[in-house]
């Protein structure tokens, strides 16, 4: 598994496996979309449409929700007395334009989506931005500790605190 024998074949094989896995995943995770429901409305009456692509709230009031999708804005109707807002106890009024969301909807005739459950995720953008910081930090440490030598990556020995035994057998300085 780790030897130099057939190394390039192993690398090539794994590199080919990734697009294959992505293709298989794409085939296995075919989400029902509103557009698909509209192609045969009677067949999809009552079907659940829940996997939206990076949706954001464009507009919201008591009766309808407008979300962004790659194909354009999508309207979702909110039934009267709707109480499917998560986390439990939250209300529709707490949802704001610009927020990310997770939603479960049901396709209804003649051709609209009705909200079944929703969860606003206003912190999603912050989560994505903050996630860049540790990537930069780890990248910086990797640049300091790894070098390209004679066709291979090599981890440099930690000589900065050679007098400290625990460090020599321990971690890169972090």
């Amino acid at each position: 598994m780790f030897s130099n024998r057939y190394r390039s074949v192993k690398i090539l094989g794994i590199l080919l496996l990734f697009p294959s896995l992505a293709w298989y995943s794409n085939r296995e995770n075919r989400f029902l979309s509103f557009a698909e429901c509209m192609r045969d409305p009677t067949r999809y009456q009552g079907a659940e449409v829940s996997n939206f692509l990076e949706p954001r709230i464009l507009d919201v009031d008591d009766r309808r929700l407008l979300i962004s999708q790659p194909d354009g804005p999508l309207e979702i109707r909110i039934p009267k007395g709707f109480d499917g807002v998560f986390p439990e106890g939250a209300e529709i009024a707490e949802l704001k334009p610009g927020d990310s969301l997770e939603a479960v909807t049901v396709f209804r005739l003649p051709g609209y989506l009705e909200l079944k459950a929703i969860r606003g995720a206003p912190l999603r953008r912050l989560k994505i931005v903050l996630s860049i910081l540790p990537v930069l930090l780890v990248g910086f440490i990797l640049l300091r500790t790894v070098r390209w030598r004679k066709g291979f990556l090599v981890i440099l020995p930690d000589t900065s605190e050679a007098s400290d035994k625990s460090d020599r057998s321990g971690n890169f300085k972090l």
């Binding site: 896995l21 995943s25 794409n26 995720a121 990537v135 780890v138 291979f152 625990s166």
Partner: protein, 157 residues
């Protein structure tokens, strides 16, 4: 997914607790790897989401760790692989604690498309808990520094 700061801080705490071998940076990298090979693609290109779901799995992480390790010198491949892969498993452990309205993680992909999770916290809750997570990591870091300085002081007489 919890944010990567939480994943990184958790890996740091585990590393400090268990004194993982030299090259801890690979453990940290492994703790972020499943998100690094999937999230940028479906955040920038939302239509790729169905394709990336199968790559945020232990099997794909195993392959990614193996691939990365093959670029290292032969004597360093095994430790690099295990550090990366154990970091990735820690990542999946944290992800498993999450709750979703829709979807979830395909732990046994490509054998099974079933999704499982324990459902303790919502994905963005990690941001709310982040000050506490960072405080814990900062405390451990500070105590580690203090102990190291004390040891050096004693060694120097």
């Amino acid at each position: 997914m919890p944010d990567l700061v939480t994943h990184f801080a958790s890996a740091y705490l585990v590393n400090r607790g268990w004194k993982i071998a030299r090259g801890a940076v690979f453990f940290y990298l492994g703790a972020m790897l499943p998100d690094l090979i999937t999230r940028p693609f479906h955040i920038l290109f939302p239509r790729l989401l169905p394709a990336t779901l199968g790559l945020h799995t232990p099997f794909a992480a195993f392959l990614a760790c193996w691939l990365i390790s093959l670029f290292f010198r032969v004597d360093q491949r095994k430790p690099v692989f295990w550090l990366l892969f154990s970091g990735s498993l820690l990542h999946f452990l944290l992800d498993a604690a999450q709750r979703h309205l829709t979807g979830g993680y395909h732990w046994f992909f490509p054998i099974s498309g079933q999704t499982y999770s324990w459902g303790f916290i919502w994905p963005e809750d990690s941001i709310r808990y982040l000050p506490f997570t960072l405080l814990a990591a900062g405390l451990v870091f500070a105590v580690g520094r203090w102990r190291k300085r004390k040891r050096r002081f004693r060694a120097n007489g």
